[in-house]
């Protein structure tokens, strides 16, 4: 009687189009939707703006999309570990918007919460405050950060029920619940799908109204690297 949101990765990916703004969950590879990203590398899509803490690693995860020339702009907090990012940036092939990590995650939350933006003290007086409006509030200087939104978010969760309620696993949670709120279309890659009613209503981290499609993981992060778990 309910809308079944379980899709194949390929079917869900039809929502991602060239020139889209894409939010991608994960802190490095931890909590990153590795299977969806892997499928994306096989698609002829370009001009993406990617909002993600990192751009994967060099030649790994989102790093592959970068090498394929699919990413036009990256908005995130830490690109140092993927050396390609600096290379592409220096060659003028990639635009970068660097935000403090807390400003990044708060901007995503803010976009999802229908706010125009917020005032933070973080980065005031630094190079990352360039071009940002500032304001005195109760004698202290804050800078304005506008909310971020995306066309599509691809996120990773641990378990979903078929309605799309999600729970996360340990530090694989990170940006995922925030991104789930801030995109027009949300695809959640999950390791396990359970019956509706199995997740405790007090423990659901992402209520199903935020989620448009659930897909099953094909790749997972193990102690010794990323492994395929078949379909």
């Amino acid at each position: 009687m309910y809308l079944d949101k379980l899709f194949s990765i390929e079917d869900a990916l039809k929502e991602i189009k060239s020139n889209h703004t894409l939010m991608v969950g994960g802190f490095g590879l931890v909590g990153s939707p590795l299977s969806i990203i892997e499928h994306l590398t096989r698609h002829d899509i370009s001009g993406l703006t990617v909002i993600s803490n990192n751009v994967g690693e060099a030649g790994e995860g989102l790093g592959i999309l970068l090498r394929q020339g699919k990413i036009k702009k990256a908005i995130g907090s830490y690109f140092t570990s993927n050396r390609d990012v600096a290379k592409y940036y220096n060659e003028g092939k990639l635009e970068i918007e660097l935000l403090p990590q807390g400003t990044l995650s708060e901007a995503i939350r803010s976009g999802g919460a229908g706010l125009g933006g917020f005032y933070t003290k973080t980065a005031v007086g630094t190079d990352l405050a360039r071009g940002k409006e500032t304001k005195e509030i109760n004698g202290e200087t804050y800078l304005l950060q506008e909310g971020l939104k995306a066309d599509v978010a691809i996120i990773k969760a641990w378990k979903a029920d078929r309605l799309g309620n999600l729970v996360y696993y340990k530090t694989a949670r990170n940006f995922n619940p925030n991104m789930a709120t801030a995109a027009n279309y949300v695809i959640a890659e999950v390791d396990e799908i359970v019956d509706v009613g199995e997740l405790d209503p007090d423990e659901i981290a992402t209520p199903h109204l935020f989620v448009d499609a659930i897909v099953k993981s094909e790749l997972i992060l193990m102690k010794d690297g990323v492994k395929s778990i078949g379909k």
Partner: protein, 217 residues
């Protein structure tokens, strides 16, 4: 070298008040964990875990990592939360102490620890939020850079991380405390001398009465 780093970490651990909530940065700060008692302090990592412990190789869970993306363990009473919630804790003043590394520290108490002009470091991570939000900042660093140049300088030439003053600086040579207008040299580390500190520091600082009275100058 390792010994110097351990010495700095051990001294930083002595600064912590029992029952405080502490965030440890990458590098020397991470070593501080080896010198504190799990039950007395609660470690926070900004990627979303309160209650970090060390983990043995056999118990590693690849989905439990710290902000340096290194495997960590989960303390009794730990909790996980989203990135937005984690930085809300930090900016909201709920973290008592952040122990961080630094590339430079200047006479005005400002820290540079996120970027080097001309080098391909395009990342800031949580450094600015921690410097802004933590109630107290302890900087742990080698006294001089790898090329021998002073890290405590009159004015940062690298981009600053925050306008906020770092209260305590612990190096392999000395301990400095911010005194409202400037740093004061309050302690010499190991067998270092005032002369060594002076030769390797271009930042302005005063010397504590105690050290003066001890006749170390």
């Amino acid at each position: 070298m390792g010994n110097k780093r351990e010495l700095i970490a051990k001294r930083a651990a002595d600064e912590l008040e029992p029952y405080s909530f502490v965030n440890l940065g990458i590098g020397i700060p991470t070593l501080v964990a080896n010198y504190i008692d799990d039950g007395l302090y609660t470690l926070h990592t900004e990627n979303g875990l309160l209650g970090v412990t060390s983990v043995e190789e056999k118990d590693i869970d690849p989905l439990i990592v710290n902000a340096g993306k290194l495997p960590v363990g989960e303390a009794l009473g730990a909790s996980y939360f989203s990135s937005a919630d984690s930085f809300a804790m930090i900016r909201g003043g709920h973290i008592d102490v952040a122990i961080l590394g630094a590339l430079q520290i200047d006479s005005r108490g400002r820290i540079a620890n996120w970027a080097i002009p001309g080098k391909d470091i395009i990342g800031v991570g949580g450094a600015m939020d921690l410097l802004e939000g933590a109630k107290k900042i302890i900087i742990t660093t080698n006294h001089v850079a790898n090329d021998g140049r002073p890290k405590l300088v009159d004015e940062c030439t690298f981009p600053i991380t925050s306008e906020r003053v770092a209260e305590t600086i612990i190096t392999d040579l000395a301990v400095f405390k911010w005194q409202g207008d400037n740093y004061e040299l309050v302690e010499l580390m190991g067998d270092s001398t005032i002369e060594e500190v002076q030769a390797n520091t271009t930042a302005f600082y005063t010397i504590s009465n105690e050290l003066l009275q001890e006749g170390k100058v």
